[in-house]
Amino acid sequence: MLEAALMGEIPRETAGSFDQVVRQREAQVLRTAFRILGNWADAEDVAQEVFLRLHRHGIGFANNGAAGAWLYRVTVNLCVDRARAKRPSQEILEVPSRERSAEASVLLEEKKRLLMAALAMLPVKERAAVVLREIEGLSTAEVAEALGSSEVTVRSQISKALVRLRGILNREEV
C-alpha cells in the first residue's frame, strides 16, 4: 500500500481532499512526531512540514491506509532529520524531570513520563521503531516500510530498544 502511494499509482489530490486528509491525520502526525522528538514545538514544526509537502506535491491517496502509510513515512523521516541535527542533550532537557513528575497525582502518569524520558535517550531510529510499533500499533511490516528498512531490522531495533529502555528505567528507579 505504501509502495503504491510512493510509486505514484494514486490519483491526484484536490484541495478539498487535502483539507480532509489534514483533519483526519493531523493528530496522528503530531502525536507521532511528539513521541519521537519529545516536545510539542518540534512536533508542530514537523507536522506543518509534512502537510505542506502533501499540499505541494498534491499527493492523492486511494484509501486511508495509503494516506496513513505515506504520512508516517514522511513524519518519521523529518523527525529523524530533526533529531540528528540536534544534540542529544537538548532532547533530554525537554523531558520532564523526576521531581516534576513526582508532583503528579497519578502514578501511571509518572510512569509514562519516565518511559517517555527514557525513550528520548534512544537512538532516533530505534525510537521511531518503538513509537510506530508499540505506540501507534503498526505491524512490523508497516514499520519497516515507514522506516525504509527490513522487518528483521525493525524486530532487532525494537528488541534492543526495549532492553535499553529497561536498563535506563531501572537505573532511574535505583
Binding site: V22, E26, L30, F51, L52, H55, L115, M116, I135
Partner: protein, 121 residues
C-alpha cells in the same frame, strides 16, 4: 519496570489526545502557507489562454510569400547514337572441288580364287 509493563504503558499512550492548542497552531500555520485553490483563480488564467488561442486561430492570413521560381527543366534531347554497323562476316571460302582424276586400277588375280590384288593408281 518489566517489558510487559512498558508495552502496556505504550498502549495506553496510543489513545492520548493531542493538545488542542498544538492542533490549532498547526492548522493556522497551514492556512497561512498552504492557501486553498479556489476555482475562481482559474478564471483569469482560462480567459488569457482562450484569448491567446483565438488570436492564433483567427489572425489574418499573411500575404502569400512568393514561392521559389521553378525553372522548367527540360531534358536534353537524347543523343542519337548511330546504330552499330556490324560488318558482314567474311564468307569462308569453300574449298574448291578437286578435279576428278581418272582412277586407274590393275587387278591381279592370284592362284587362290579368294585372293585378288588390286593396284590403284
Amino acid at each position: 519496570m518489566t517489558e510487559q509493563e512498558m508495552r502496556d504503558l505504550f498502549r495506553e499512550m496510543r489513545d492520548e489526545p493531542v493538545p488542542a492548542d498544538s492542533l490549532a497552531r498547526v492548522r493556522a500555520r497551514l492556512a497561512n502557507r498552504a492557501p486553498r485553490r479556489h476555482w475562481w483563480i482559474l478564471v483569469p488564467a482560462a480567459a488569457v489562454a482562450l484569448s491567446i488561442v483565438s488570436v492564433v486561430m483567427f489572425r489574418p492570413a499573411p500575404p502569400p510569400i512568393p514561392g521559389p521560381v521553378i525553372v522548367a527543366k527540360t531534358a536534353p534531347p537524347p543523343v542519337k547514337i548511330a546504330p552499330v554497323q556490324i560488318p558482314p562476316r567474311p564468307k569462308r571460302a569453300r574449298p574448291k572441288p578437286v578435279a576428278a582424276v581418272p582412277v586407274s586400277m590393275i587387278r591381279i588375280e592370284t592362284p587362290d580364287p579368294e585372293v585378288v590384288i588390286l593396284l590403284v593408281n
